[in-house]
């Protein structure tokens, strides 16, 4: 075997020139001198080794004690253990050995993004494990030469994607190409948090979907948006559900999409043409479609602000019950953004064009905008 990147061969056969990394002498005594090893101790060690080798035993290191070890031995060796033969005729070789981890039989459990998991299966923030130190799919075996390199390279690459670009110091999500949303990759901890933020209960024929992130005016992050999509799709098919009631906890119904995430989308969209378009199509618009396509009537209870995506979600529902505090608010022009989340699709259909265009004018206060059409008189009245 020769690795051409190296100047010297890394194997040696008797009779060939002796490479630099190998010391070769005609006697064990000379070898001990050349390697600065205590002469008496080396002689004793070699004698002990030879006594064991002739009966196939290695009292010091147990070489050849298992089948894996013997598999790597010399099948033509005449002595009982293919890994052992007495060192009794020249030349005698010596070389320094270093200990290294060549393979492991297990390691730190990770998710598919190489994020380390604790005993409960939850992500340990900021800790990643790749290759030999991780519990990757073939960690408990050694499929062949180079078998440790593939997992190390692949998982290192995935870890890099998971860390993502450091932009504003916040935890950057993975940028997984070809995965339209991150539902499949979510871990248990995130699932639990998402479930706490979008509650779901089916009782007496009514599916109650409750936005429960009042500390953020129920702003919708992608995880909650995806859970809403799942719930509307499930309720649509569940025979136990005869009507869906969408509501929220706290002072406000929903202030819209999570602004921090909007900023992130802008950044990512600026890097790759087309990414922004795909994100919108697979994100907010899929939520609106899931509500429109739900085969059960959807009732929406609005208190406080329904802004941006929150407004459009309410408009996608079939009936709205509004509290006297309800304010319907279209903030996107104030933020320099195009009206998204199917606003342009829904508003002309639900409340008419000129009223809608007035609502698009970036002016404050927002309360003046609720007047025509958007809020249908008293609570309990029909929206149309």
């Amino acid at each position: 075997v020769r690795f051409d990147a190296w100047q010297d061969p890394v194997t040696h056969r008797s009779g060939q020139p002796v490479p630099d990394w190998l010391t070769c002498r005609d006697t064990v005594r000379e070898l001990s001198g050349a390697l600065s090893i205590d002469r008496e101790r080396l002689a004793v060690t070699v004698a002990r080794f030879n006594a064991g080798a002739v009966v196939g035993a290695d009292p010091d290191f147990a070489r050849g004690a298992d089948r894996y070890d013997r598999y790597g031995g010399d099948p033509a060796n005449p002595w009982p253990n293919p890994c052992l033969a007495p060192l009794d005729h020249p030349p005698f070789y010596g070389m320094p050995l270093q200990v290294g981890a060549f393979g492991t039989s297990g390691g730190v459990a990770t998710d598919e993004r190489t994020r380390a998991l604790d005993a409960a299966g939850e992500v340990i923030g900021g800790l990643f494990a790749v290759g030999n130190v991780s519990a990757h799919p073939v960690c408990a075996g050694y499929p062949g030469a180079g078998g440790t390199l593939g997992p190390a390279l692949t998982m290192g690459y995935l870890a890099g994607l998971s860390v993502g670009p450091a932009t504003d110091g916040s935890q950057a999500p993975c940028q997984w190409r070809g995965v339209s949303d991150d539902r499949g990759a979510r871990n248990k901890a995130e699932d639990k948090a998402t479930q706490d933020r979008v509650l779901h209960e089916v009782r007496d024929g009514i599916a109650r979907i409750t936005l429960n992130r009042p500390e953020a005016a129920n702003a919708l992050a992608p995880e909650q948006r995806n859970r809403l999509i799942e719930l509307f799709e499930a309720d649509s098919q569940d025979p136990a559900v005869r009507v869906v009631l969408l509501r929220s906890t706290g002072k406000h119904f929903c202030s819209g999409a999570d602004l921090g995430r909007i900023k992130q989308l802008r950044t990512e969209g600026a890097d790759h043409v087309g990414v922004g378009t795909d994100r919108i199509l697979t994100g907010a618009l899929r939520l609106i479609a899931a509500i429109l396509d739900c085969r059960k009537p959807v009732v929406c209870a609005v208190q406080g602000v329904a802004g941006g995506l929150g407004l459009h979600v309410a408009l996608a529902c079939d009936l709205i019950v509004a509290a006297s505090t309800a304010r319907f608010f279209e903030p996107l022009a104030l933020r320099g953004l195009v009206m998204d989340g199917a606003g342009a699709y829904l508003l002309p259909r639900r409340i008419g064009m000129q009223r809608r265009q007035g609502a698009g004018v970036p002016r404050r206060p927002a309360a003046r905008r609720r007047r025509p059409g958007l809020r249908p008189g008293q609570p309990g009245g029909s929206r149309r």
Partner: protein, 86 residues
């Protein structure tokens, strides 16, 4: 509706607000709204997604989101993209 003698002032005020607004965002939204009733859902959604990405490149989109995060009034310039953009 405003009192008769306030008509011009009110119209001027409204126009003034629009003159300081994120013009390209409003222009794209206006186009989406005007296409809306002529387009099916799938078409409307695609148009919207593309318009959102277009506006994402604008100076005003960054300024609007940043100003909101910093709780100040945005300074829109209308149509331009940042100088650093390719």
């Amino acid at each position: 509706v405003v009192p008769d003698d306030e008509l011009d002032a009110a119209a001027q005020a409204l126009a003034g607000q629009l003159a300081r607004a994120a013009t390209s965002a409003i222009a794209l939204t206006k186009r989406l709204l005007n296409e809306s009733l002529d387009a099916g859902r799938e078409q409307a959604f695609l148009l919207e997604a593309m318009a959102v990405e277009m506006q994402a490149h604008a100076h005003d989109a960054a300024e609007g989101v940043t100003a909101f995060a910093e709780r100040r009034d945005p300074q829109f310039n209308g149509h331009s993209v940042p100088r650093s953009a390719p």
